[in-house]
């Protein structure tokens, strides 16, 4: 049963969550971009701001209204908070040949994510699968994830880079949220609110709300549906047989063609909400008595990524891009049962040369292109 929360009451979500001990993280403007950062109140949201996105283009613009969520996704994703870019795993002490390892004690944080989009909720669930539901669990992710409160937003606006409808991830928010809202600007600014968990119900019970009428539900839903149609018309990816498409194109000449454009800068992997690769750095003090092991985000576009004593496995940019897109769209399915792509379009926007994952898939589909370099053995 959906509810209505008026714009003037929306700020109560912040005060209620803060009162429950949550640290509120959400979108705000910083460095000419909408990033995910600590929010003090509803006024910290990018009110009346939108983003213009295209291949290799990101610009903020002023809207002619006071929408709270009138933009799409920026360079940050929630993995900033669940899978921090830099984290100490343990410390060690060494005295006279004796080692002692000290486990990292993480301060428990109760995070409330405000403004999680449908594609991003899918991305969080994909990382849940990677970090929590495999043979081994990531204890850091588990600790950060377990108490997260999610206030999700179904998108009524989209960027030209969005293709969630192709990936089946949006723009309507799916299961996994505590509270989901649709922002309605006219005639009166309000939010259609749905409750997805008992915790969400508890929060809403402390925010002024009323039951939604059928007309209100329908008109809000319409906004999301017409946005979905727009997204589907503007950009799409045909995902039928996509695994087979990529697996059969290891030998394609197309990768050399991509390599002429790709800078191997790793931007796509940094902004991707599902990319989970990391490396570790061991730091030792000058006396050789204290050491720390840090985990850092890593990218399959670096040479060090596949370095072994016998050399780097993926040296060419073509092989690196092939690995990235094949992992994202094909081997991810074998590894984790889902695609690794949620159609958020970040990799398209933040690619400095505007390489577009949907276009690269289309190129492979056009070529139908199996150009095998070496004959397969039996």
């Amino acid at each position: 049963m959906p509810f209505i929360v008026e714009r003037s009451d929306f700020g109560q979500f912040f005060t209620v969550l803060k009162g429950m001990g949550y640290e509120i993280i959400g979108p705000r403007v910083r460095d000419s971009a909408i990033v995910y950062d600590r929010l003090g109140s509803v006024d910290d949201l990018p009110i009346g701001i939108t983003d213009h996105q295209d291949k290799g283009v990101y610009r903020l613009r002023r809207r002619d209204d006071q929408a709270l969520f009138g933009y799409t996704v920026g360079p940050h994703s929630w993995k900033m908070y669940l899978f921090p870019p830099r984290m100490r795993l343990f410390s060690a002490e060494r005295r006279a040949g004796n080692l002692e390892v000290v486990e990292e004690r993480h301060e428990p944080r109760r995070l409330a994510f405000i403004g999680v989009r449908a594609c991003e909720l899918h991305a969080i669930q994909i990382q849940d699968r990677v970090f929590l539901h495999d043979i081994f669990k990531d204890p850091v992710y588990e600790m950060l994830r377990k108490d997260v409160f999610i206030l999700a937003v179904s998108c009524t606006v989209s960027s030209s880079t969005c293709f969630c409808t192709s990936m089946g991830t949006g723009p309507r928010v799916g299961p996994g949220y505590d509270i989901a809202v649709i922002e309605v600007l006219k005639p009166v600014h309000h939010f259609l609110v749905e409750v997805g968990s008992s915790l969400g119900g508890e929060v809403l019970s402390n925010v002024r709300h009323r039951e939604a009428t059928r007309e209100e539900v329908e008109s809000a839903t319409q906004l999301v549906e017409s946005n979905a149609r727009l997204i589907g018309m503007r950009r799409s990816m045909d995902t039928s047989n996509i695994k087979e498409l990529l697996y059969s194109n290891y030998g394609s000449k197309h990768w050399d063609e991509v390599a002429e454009r790709c800078l191997a800068c790793a931007n796509c992997t940094m902004v991707c909400p599902t990319c989970f690769c990391s490396t570790v750095e061991d730091v030792v003090d000058l006396k050789g008595e204290h050491a720390e092991r840090w985990r850092l985000w890593d990218s399959c576009f670096s040479n060090e990524f596949t370095y072994m004593h016998s050399g780097t496995v993926r040296r060419s940019t073509g092989a690196k891009y092939r690995h990235w897109i094949t992992h994202k769209l094909a081997s991810w399915i074998d590894q984790f049962g889902t695609s690794g792509c949620v159609g958020c379009g970040r990799c398209i926007t933040w690619c400095p040369v505007g390489i577009d994952i949907t276009e690269e898939v289309k190129a492979l589909q056009r070529d139908g292109g199996v150009v095998v370099e070496e004959e397969a053995v039996r």
Partner: protein
């Protein structure tokens, strides 16, 4: 166990996983898999001019042939396959070539020092599933180390296997690992051990050439033979081809793959080889499962 013999993509069932990760005292399962356990070094033995074997006190540690540990030496951590007898419950061995700053630090350890250990990790050689088969073991260079536990297992259960061949190729005479053991194994009448050097001088009376040059000496029933290969990737590719030419089934040829590894638990992404995480799906993989990838450069 959840693994079936001769399978292509053999299923890692829950039981198999428990078996695999249960080795370390309390086990890594559920606990923090990033945290090394501190173990006592029992002995450091020089094997060759640049290779050392470090024995650490087992202290309840169990593993299966083909699995590896992450060894932490304060300045960093490296994956090292376990090279001791799986039935030896006193200590576990790691044979290490001193090539980088972490392996140098490991090789400079002395008895009584402590070292960090995470493990055991990885999919083992499915040797128990291949009882009743002829066994072909092919090692290149340091690749003999992860095959040594398999050899111990086969020799300890000799009656359960058919003919057993060990082919070992290395660069020069001074690179030969486990000399006394090889000599002991060669003296046995129930296994065939062949060693080849790619470069030799007048003091060497054995075969000269790459390890594939030893394949004609393998006399097995190809219908009932299983092969276990470890060495440089290019060597494994050619050995597998030769064994297929002998008539062996691609489902019964197993390779131990190597890739960059950081976490060893399938979470850091480094070791991917197509859809396989070499750390948790491998390092041991059936040839049939990875043959097409092995023929593509830079996967």
């Amino acid at each position: 166990m959840g693994m079936h013999a001769y399978g292509g993509r053999y299923d890692v069932g829950v039981n198999a996983v428990e078996d695999r990760v249960g080795g370390m005292g309390g086990g890594v399962h559920g606990a923090n898999p990033y945290l090394p356990r501190i173990c006592r070094v029992r002995r450091v033995k020089r094997e060759t001019y640049n290779t050392f074997t470090i024995d650490v006190e087992a202290d309840g540690f169990r593993f299966m042939p083909g699995q590896f540990n992450m060894l932490y030496a304060f300045v960093g951590e490296v994956p090292i396959s376990i090279s001791s007898d799986p039935d030896n419950h006193e200590f576990i061995s790691h044979t290490i070539r001193s090539v980088g700053h972490v392996t140098r630090a490991l090789c400079s350890l002395r008895a009584g020092d402590s070292v960090g250990v995470r493990g055991p990790f990885g999919n083992p050689w499915p040797i128990k599933e291949h009882e009743g088969s002829d066994i072909v073991v092919v090692a290149g260079g340091l690749g003999l180390a992860p095959l040594r536990p398999l050899m111990y297992h086969v020799l300890a259960n000799r009656a359960r296997y058919g003919r057993v061949f060990l082919l070992y190729g290395t660069k020069t005479q001074r690179d030969i690992l486990y000399r006394s053991e090889l000599a002991r194994w060669r003296a046995r009448f129930d296994i065939d051990v062949h060693v080849t050097l790619s470069r030799a001088d007048g003091r060497w009376h054995g075969n000269v050439g790459v390890v594939t040059s030893l394949i004609p000496r393998v006399h097995v029933d190809p219908m009932y033979a299983s092969a276990f290969i470890c060495g440089p990737e290019v060597m494994m590719r050619f050995v597998a081809r030769e064994l297929l030419n002998l008539g062996l089934d691609a489902n019964r040829i197993f390779l131990s793959m190597e890739r960059n590894m950081k976490c060893a638990v399938g979470l850091c992404g480094h070791c991917q080889f197509g859809p396989e995480f070499v750390c948790k799906d491998g390092p041991v993989l059936a040839y049939s499962r990875i043959a097409s990838l092995l023929n593509v450069a830079e996967v």
